[in-house]
Every structure is written in C-alpha cells, then in structure tokens.
C-alpha cells in the first residue's frame, strides 16, 4: 500500500503577506454592459473595504480576483508575480482565498469536510484517494481554536449551524490554508448584531496576522470603523480611494451616488 499525504496547504504559499496586489487596466463587459472599466488600484496588507451601490462593479471585481470571472483586459500582479486567474483553483493556488456571500458550504457535510473541501488530506490505496478523517478532524479543531471558536464536535453537519457559525467555518478555511489574501463578499450581511461582532473579530484576527483582507460590503458604518483603506466604486469605476480616518459617511455616500466626483 502506497501511503502519501496530500499537501494541506497551497504549494509555494507560506501565508506570508505579499507586499501588494495590483490591478492595472482591468475591464470586464457582459454583452453591452461595462461592469468594470479600466480599474487601476493596489491593495496592500491590512483591511481594504470596497463599497458602492448595486451595479457599481464590486462583485465583478471580487469574481475576477477569485478566479470565477476572467477580465477582458488588464493585468493582476501579486507581489512580483503576474497572475492568470482562470478558475477558483488558480486563485487559491496563488494564495487568494474567497468567501462568498452565500458561503459556498455543503450543508449535509460536517464542519471538517467543509473546511477541507477540495483540499482533503488523503493517502493512496488501490488507486483510490482514501481520506484521512482523523487527521483532518484534528486539524479542523486546531484551526477553529486558532480563531477562538469553540465547537464541541466538528462532526456536526454545517446545516445545523447558525449564520455566524457557518461564516466562522468559512473563515476557518482561510486560516487553515494560510491564505495571504482573503476576499470577503458581504461577510456579515445576514447576521445579527452579536454574530456580526464575532465574525468581525475573526476578520480582525486575520488582519492582525498580517493578511491582506478585502471586503465588499454595503455596511458603510461598520467598514469605516474597521478598514485601513476604502475604495468607492460607481458604474464600474473606482471613483475614490481614501483613508477612512480622513472621511465620513456623508462624503462616501456622495461619491457612491455620484453627487460628488
């Protein structure tokens, strides 16, 4: 019996924060609709919030960075490395972990299976990839403990968890696989105040550990209080990049709706 443990972390990804993630001339159209137009920006370590009204291009930018959608034009560079993101796997292997608004969890699977989905620890046996369930459960418990989430049983199916707990499981993936860049799409949109605070705390831990965290959100008061850097988008363009300490909600809203340019 050949025994081999699959790597549980992306190759070449130590989790060390890259210096920057740069977008140059990135555009994307859907038919006649120009979802993104000539985006030029640089994300750095810390928390960057992307805000904008519906249709501003936030989600398209997230999809491009997470490898779900390919840009029509432009380049993406992480540190010194040019990225060609043609799938979510490409993004993940490049060290970009994405958490979607709908979480993308498999409800009937347990917490461990969800954390390791697509990156299971396995060994080879008779041509089959046999799961190393115990090792994965142990690693899942350690990861949850790292973000200070106490879950008594990682064998609980995800559908039995509340929204905040599910979000914690999704965030645990990024922690487990040491992703240096974490993209979050409306991470607290469906949560109550207590769970929102808990999830924001986990996000704070990710930032404190030196990761580059990018959040797309509608929750302007919250992101102004959390972010190190804010990007305001409107009609597929970046209309303002600002330090949240040097602005206020009224000004941001004005940029979002176009009453200031």
């Amino acid at each position: 019996m050949q025994s081999k443990t699959a790597p549980s972390q992306p190759a070449g990804n130590s989790g060390a924060a890259p210096t920057e993630l740069r977008l140059e001339g990135v555009s994307k159209s859907y038919g006649g609709v120009r979802a993104l137009q000539e985006i030029n920006t640089t994300f750095r370590s810390g928390l960057t919030g992307i805000i904008g009204d519906n249709g501003a291009g936030k989600s398209t930018m997230m999809k491009i960075l997470s490898g779900v959608t390919r840009p029509d034009t432009g380049t993406i560079t992480l540190g010194e490395k040019a990225l060609h993101l043609t799938s979510p796997v490409d993004a993940r292997l490049s060290g970009i972990e994405s958490l979607y608004q709908d979480l993308a969890l498999a409800d009937t699977l347990d917490i461990t299976s969800n954390i390791f989905l697509g990156r299971e620890m396995t060994r080879s046996f008779a041509g089959l990839r046999v799961l190393q369930d115990r090792a994965m459960a142990k690693a899942a418990r350690e990861t949850l403990s790292q973000v200070n989430i106490r879950i008594p049983d990682v064998a609980v199916p995800v559908r039995a968890l509340s929204g905040g707990q599910r979000q914690a499981v999704a965030l645990a993936r990024a922690v487990r696989f040491n992703a240096p860049v974490v993209l979050l799409d409306e991470p607290t949109a469906a949560l109550g105040p207590r769970e929102t605070a808990a999830v924001n705390d986990i996000i704070g831990r990710l930032v404190d550990s030196g990761r580059m965290v990018i959040i797309v959100t509608h929750d302007i008061p919250a992101i102004v209080g959390m972010a190190d850097h804010l990007i305001v988008m409107r009609a597929g363009r970046i209309v303002r990049e600002v330090d949240p300490r040097q602005t206020n909600q009224e000004e941001l809203l004005a940029y979002m709706v176009g009453s200031r340019t």
Binding site: A104, L117, R159, A198, D201
Partner: protein
C-alpha cells in the same frame, strides 16, 4: 392524553416535538428504521408464510435481490450527488442482450469455454460504461437535467437492445454463464456474492474516499464543490459511467440466471432500483445516504416479493405495499432529518453560540484580549 405524555417523555415537556431537543435514543432508533422494518418483515413472514424459514428460501431471496441490487448501487451514487439515472433498466436490457448475443453466437460456433463468459461480462460492462459515460457527458457538458437526459437514453438503449435482438429473446448461452447465474457457494448464490462484494467496495468508496465525499458534497451544493476547484464534469461522467457499468453487469448476470436475455428484461427494474435506494434512506434530493441502506432497501423489496408469493397473496398487492413503503420511507427519513437538525442545533448552541457571543463581546473590546478556548 396518554399520547401526549408519551411525546413528553420522548421529546421533553410541552409543545411540538420539533421545537425541542428530542430524546437521543429515539433519534438513534430512527436511524435504523429501515433495518427495523427488515427485521419486522423477517419475523412476520417467518410466522405467517409456510416454508419461509429455510435455506432455499433465503437463497432465493438473495438470488432475487442481487441483480437489481447492482442497479440500485449505481443509482445510489448518482442520487448521492443529487442526480437521477432513469436509464438503468433499459441499460440492463441492453447489457444483457449485447452480452448474450456474443455468448450465444460463440456457443453456437462450438466455443463453450469460460473465456466466452468472461468476454460476455466485459462486453456487458463496456456497453454499460459507454452508455453511462454518454449520459454523463450530455449532462455535464450540455448542462441538461439528468431526469430528461436519462429519460431520453432510456428509450435509446431500449431501442438499441431491440435492434440487436430483433425484439426476440436471445438464448442458448454457454454452460459457464449458466453456472455463474445459478451456482452457489454454501447456499449463497454467486450473483449475491458479486452484488454484496460490490456493495462492500462501494460503501468504502462512499464513506472513505475523496470520490465519495465529492458525491455527497455535489448533492449538497454543486456550487460549493465547483468553487472548491473540483472538476465537476469529470466527476459527473464517472458517476453515470459507474451506474451504467453496474447496470450492464446486472444485465449480463440476469441473462446468465435465466439463460436468456431480452429487451423487456429491465421493464420493472427502474422502479425497483429507485425503491431500494429510497427505502434504504437515501433522500432523492441527494447529499446524504448510505450504501448499506440501499442493500437493506433491496432486501425489504425482495422479502415482500417472496413473502407474498409464499403466503399466496396476489402479486398486485406487492406493488401497492412497495408504493406505500416508498412514501413512508421518505416521510420517516425527512422526519429523522429534522430531528437530527434539532439535536445538532441544540448541541451546537450549547458550545458554539456562547463562544461566538463571547468572541463578539470581546471583539467589541478595543484591547482584543481573548479568553483561550
């Protein structure tokens, strides 16, 4: 009142059962509903059907179960992944006819060796695999509903079976095929050994391998699996390929058992296969289920079949009872799932929610200091 008291004992005081933590013993019991039904049927027929408690009878039950169990095993994997394969019955016919045509021709030419039967098995599996892969490719790449695709191929495979056999039964199979279809080892039919062997292997694959995990995950959320970087198309093709290959093999074994193959051999097989899966506790919505549940489901079906015959009850009643059993099985399965969910939330809330709440409170603290978990 008495009923209310009983419910209180089972589920705790007051209100409906789903509003509170149910008794874990009840939950544990509900997980084995299908096994309990199997045992009850065994006892019932042992007491009321003359001749039921005999080696011959049990051997017959295993014999009758094995062919459609193979169909049901492939179908179970497809249903785990949230799909459906309606073409397994006609693939059984096609696999049987294709294999029997070759074996019959060789036998007529004077070749009655074991090799002819082995090649017959390979032909049946290859034809099934090809048909299954066709299903998978169309479903994966044309993004069509598996219900419609396999409904279409149900007709296609049946038509091809008729074309090969000219609509007539194909007989005169070599003795080795007859031995395979009717031989026994310690009163256990060879076909049962084959079917149970496949059940054991596939149970391992479902529970312990990455392929099995992805089947469940796809059934739960195709999008989560796609975003996790799994090649969904390849997985879909493999799933339907396995289902087709098992159906083809079932067709060959069916032909070997009856020393004859025909396009009508799989007429009832689809209903029986899906009944075995559903009675075995696999939800038609996918994402959950067990291979051994399907084995129990298949045995329940055959027990009813044999028991009714032994009791002299008209076979029409069997269809009525099986139909009712499918509905009951789906209801019980849904019921226990909701109970499990309640227990999951209850158990989880004891630990996780306070932990999250505590984290949240701490998160609002500017110091960020945390109590260790």
């Amino acid at each position: 009142m008495q009923q209310a008291n009983m419910l209180q004992r089972l589920f705790g005081a007051g209100g409906g059962p789903l509003e509170r933590t149910p008794n874990k013993a009840v939950l544990f019991g509900l997980r084995f509903t299908n096994l309990a039904v199997l045992l009850i049927l065994l006892v019932f027929f042992a007491l009321s059907a003359p001749g039921f408690l005999s080696l011959v009878s049990f051997s017959n039950i295993l014999d009758s179960t094995s062919v459609f169990l193979l169909l049901a095993l492939g179908e179970t994997f497809v249903i785990f992944a949230g799909g459906i394969d309606l073409s397994v019955g006609s693939m059984l016919s096609l696999g049987g006819v294709a294999s029997a045509s070759y074996m019959s021709e060789r036998f007529a030419a004077g070749d009655d060796g074991v090799l002819t039967t082995v090649v017959g098995i390979l032909i049946a599996c290859a034809v099934g695999l090809l048909g299954g892969v066709l299903n998978g490719v169309v479903i994966a790449y044309m993004k069509l509903d598996p219900l419609i695709v396999t409904l279409g191929t149900l007709g296609i495979f049946l038509g091809i079976a008729d074309l090969i056999s000219n609509g007539l039964p194909v007989g005169d199979l070599p003795p080795a095929a007859f031995t395979l279809g009717n031989g026994q080892f310690l009163h256990v039919p060879y076909v049962a050994i084959i079917a149970l062997g496949f059940a054991a292997v596939l149970s391992f694959v479902a529970r312990k391998t990455r392929f099995g995990r992805y089947c469940y995950a796809i059934g739960a959320s195709q999008e989560s699996v796609r975003r996790a970087g799994v090649n969904l198309n390849r997985h879909t093709i493999m799933l339907y390929g396995i289902s087709g290959a098992l159906a083809g093999l079932a067709g060959m074994l069916n032909a070997a058992h009856f020393s004859s193959a025909s396009s009508s051999a799989g007429a009832n097989a689809l209903l029986v296969a899906i009944a075995a899966v559903v009675i075995g506790g696999t939800p038609i919505s996918g994402g959950e289920g067990k291979i051994w549940g399907t084995v129990i489901g298949a045995l329940i079906y055959t027990l009813l079949d044999n028991g009714f015959v032994l009791m002299g009850i008209a076979s029409f009643w069997q269809l009525v009872v099986v139909g009712a059993l499918i509905i009951l099985a789906v209801y019980l399965d849904e019921y226990q799932r909701r109970l499990r969910l309640t227990v999951g939330i209850s158990r989880d809330t004891e630990g996780v929610a306070p932990a999250l709440a505590a984290d949240g409170a701490a998160g609002q603290d500017s110091t960020g200091a945390k109590a260790s978990a």
